[in-house]
């Protein structure tokens, strides 16, 4: 019956010029449940949610609380009791937390339009109390950590007193601790009868919190099942359309001489006294939560922000690396954490993105040998199985996984001895993830030394030969592949 469902979307179709993004999709969410919406990147999840939130218009029917709904825009959606946590944070950096949360609906004195700041802050405090968040409402948004910004965003979505909250990748930027916090909030919302649509790439989270799962693939509706009827493998199968048994392709590699050795490396205020070594053929995983200093550590090794003290040895020789170009000269490559911000040149082509850091090899008196470029890039496309119509395609038109492969190819063209990979599979869909893992393993076999930073525990556990555990800027310990488990890592981190 209609009363059972808070939301019924049926026959939803959406076309963009040349592409059918959604084809006859349905999504039914029961009252007071958490409903996961799963699918690889490009499956149509975000488009569907944008239609639900009134950002896009599409054909088909949407029933909300049994009544048919036609939304004119996000404001309309909010008025009808639907709110959304967006994947990309959109804070107004120079306004306070309280102002951000109540943007557009500030409490005012009478009809004057004059904002009642006292009440604004009080309302925020009350909201935070119910959610158990301890952030000062008068802090400027720009001064918050990304994790706290995400919590503010969550609080803002809750503050609308919506009956249905859409959460699009709410945990992409927050730590395990805060994920737990978020889940507590979700459970208490559930008790109040609020329904939640939960979108995430992280399987463990989905199985932990969700009641039902709807899967989309390539703009098509695949099916809806109760979460307890599925497991990781069967869910992946639904998403990918083929069976992927083993997610981590870790092959045995011969471990040889030390490539990088770091002694007592510190950068003031970021990390202290870190010492470790990586050998040829070895994958060293660095585990740690956001703010553990892991990204800062590899930035120092790569010369982006040189360390304040300590020593770095490459092949036994002490080096001083003051800039990324210095690191590249020393045969180090770095795949950065944030593809859009520090990795890809979005307006440039696949070809240009690939060759940009190894241009020296392709030029004659500064003039580019285009045949050589073509030959080399074609080979890389083949080797990494990059899906692109041609080399002149703009990288921004590729999927996340293929973008990541292009960037990996960029560093491989430098033929590095040491490859540092910061979150190599963030925002990459399951199929491409497996391919990237396979590739990393193969690179180690070929004799590269690899450092891999990741906040996904299974990835760390599945890929690393050794795991370096960091917490709040300190090196807490090192675990061998055999010793390392999720529990053990957390134990070491918090000891």
């Amino acid at each position: 019956m209609g009363a059972e469902y808070i939301l019924e979307m049926e026959n939803i179709t959406k076309e963009f010029p040349g592409v059918k993004a959604l084809d006859n999709i349905q999504l039914k969410v029961k009252k007071g449940t958490v409903h996961a919406l799963m699918g690889e990147n490009g499956a149509g999840k975000s488009t569907l949610m944008k239609i639900l939130f009134g950002i896009y218009s599409g054909s088909g029917t949407i029933k909300f609380n049994g009544k048919e709904l036609k939304l004119s825009g996000p404001k309309d959606a909010l008025n009808n009791g639907i709110s959304m946590i967006h994947q990309e944070l959109s804070p107004v950096p120079y306004m306070t937390v309280a102002e951000n949360i109540f943007l557009g609906r500030e409490p005012v004195y009478g009809k004057s339009g004059w904002v009642n700041k006292k009440k604004l802050i009080e309302n925020t405090k009350k909201l935070f109390e119910t959610l158990n968040i301890s952030i000062d409402p008068t802090t400027k948004m720009k001064d918050l950590s990304i994790a706290n910004m995400q919590m503010v965003e969550i609080a803002a979505a809750v503050s609308h007193h919506a009956n249905l909250i859409i959460m699009d990748e709410p945990t992409s930027a927050i730590t395990e601790k805060e994920v737990e916090h978020l889940f507590k909030i979700i459970r208490s919302l559930k008790k109040k009868g609020v329904s939640i649509i939960y979108i995430s790439h992280k399987m463990d989270e989905v199985f932990k919190i969700c009641d039902e799962i709807t899967v989309l693939r390539d703009g098509q509706y695949i099916g809806t099942k109760p979460a307890h009827e599925l497991n990781q493998d069967s869910l992946i199968q639904m998403m990918v359309g083929r069976e992927i048994k083993q997610v981590f392709h870790k092959e045995k590699a011969e471990v040889k001489e030390v490539v990088l050795s770091v002694k007592n490396l510190s950068r003031k205020g970021k990390f202290n006294n870190v010492s470790f070594e990586v050998r040829k053929g070895e994958i060293l995983g660095i585990a740690g939560l956001m703010g553990s200093g892991r990204t800062e550590l590899i930035e120092s090794i790569f010369g982006i922000a040189p360390p304040t003290s300590g020593e770095i040895y490459l092949h036994g020789k002490r080096v001083s690396i003051q800039s990324p170009s210095g690191a590249i000269r020393n045969k180090i490559g770095l795949l950065t954490e944030d593809r859009k911000l520090t990795g890809a040149f979005l307006p440039l082509s696949v070809k240009e993105n690939m060759i940009i850091s190894s241009l020296e090899n392709f030029v004659n008196f500064g003039y580019i040998k285009s045949r050589l470029v073509k030959k080399t890039c074609d080979a890389q496309v083949k080797r990494l199985n990059i899906k692109t119509p041609n080399l002149n395609q703009l990288i921004m038109n590729l999927s996340g996984g293929n973008q990541q492969k292009v960037l990996l190819a960029r560093w491989l063209l430098n033929d590095p001895d040491l490859l540092i990979l910061d979150e190599p599979t963030r925002g990459v869909d399951v199929g491409a993830k497996a391919e990237i893992h396979k590739l990393i393993s193969k690179l180690a076999q070929e004799g590269k030394a690899i450092i891999m930073v990741s906040s996904e525990m299974p990835e760390i556990l599945g890929m690393s030969d050794r795991v370096l555990v960091m917490h709040e800027g300190n090196q807490k310990g090192e675990l061998s592949r055999e010793e390392a488990t999720q529990e053990k890592i957390l134990e070491v981190a918090y000891q």
Binding site: F345, V363, G366
Partner: protein, 334 residues
Amino acid sequence: MESQETIAKKPTILSDRYQTGWKEKVSEIFSRYGIFIIFLGMVTLMSFLTPYFFNVLNLINVVRQVSFIGIVAMGVTFVIITKGIDLSSGSVIALISVVAADFAHPGEHSLFVPLAIGVGVGALTGLINGTITAKGMIPPFIATLGMMTAARGLALLYSDGRPIGNLSDSFLFIGAGEILGIPFPIIVFLVVGIISHLLLSNTKFGKYTYAIGGNEQAARICGINVDRHLILVYTYAGLLTAIAGLMLTARISVGQPSMGVMYELDAIAAAVIGGTSLTGGIGTIPGTMIGALIIGVLNNGLDLLNVSSYWQQILKGAIIVTAVLIDSRKNKKS
């Protein structure tokens, strides 16, 4: 162009969902060659509207008139591709004009002297623009705004506010001379165009220019010396401005401290009409040359048609906005 055929034939799930109707093809062609089509359309239209337009003398006039702004616009294109902007070109033209004119009186120095000094001054202003932008971490808008004001002041100071005339015939040749019936500025325009195009599309220098505009942080991580490269880009822009300034001075046979007012905006407009995007990382030299020609044809055609200068301004404004509009739609699509 060459790697058009180099398609890695890997059918993807996505591409199956693309429908390739004629509508898409037309819009594809339009977004790639749109500016060129608009240009040809304008030439055709003008030829029909006025009998004076399509004759050799007038066409030579148009291209000659365009040469100067066109050369400046090519330098500006490099700058805009790095996500920068150069507001100083007009004033720098004035500075170069009076300084070079001062060394170009007949019988005083060889032709080399004023040319070298002019190019030197241009490159120096570019060097300063680039250094302040790269090392001073000041936005290029402000850095070059400062240069725009200061260079104009220097030009007035140097010339005591007066035009500097009485220039040697050999100097006048670079603005008014002809080789085989083709005005010298046109030859320089084409040569500078070819060199700039090759530089931008086929060299390391060019690729780094695109990379910095596309993503400055990523460029640093890729080992590009961003600061040094930015300085070089602004210096190149200053150099091209100098070439235009020297030829303009010779063309009107006098060094003027009041020369080139608002030329920086015409140059930016030419680049933008030609498809250079102010968001960085996008733009080509042939596009900019066509952009400059569009402005030139528009100016010339409207003058021939005797359209009032008030209408001319409105039309120019409309064209610029329309060009950017097409450009922004192109970007949105991808």
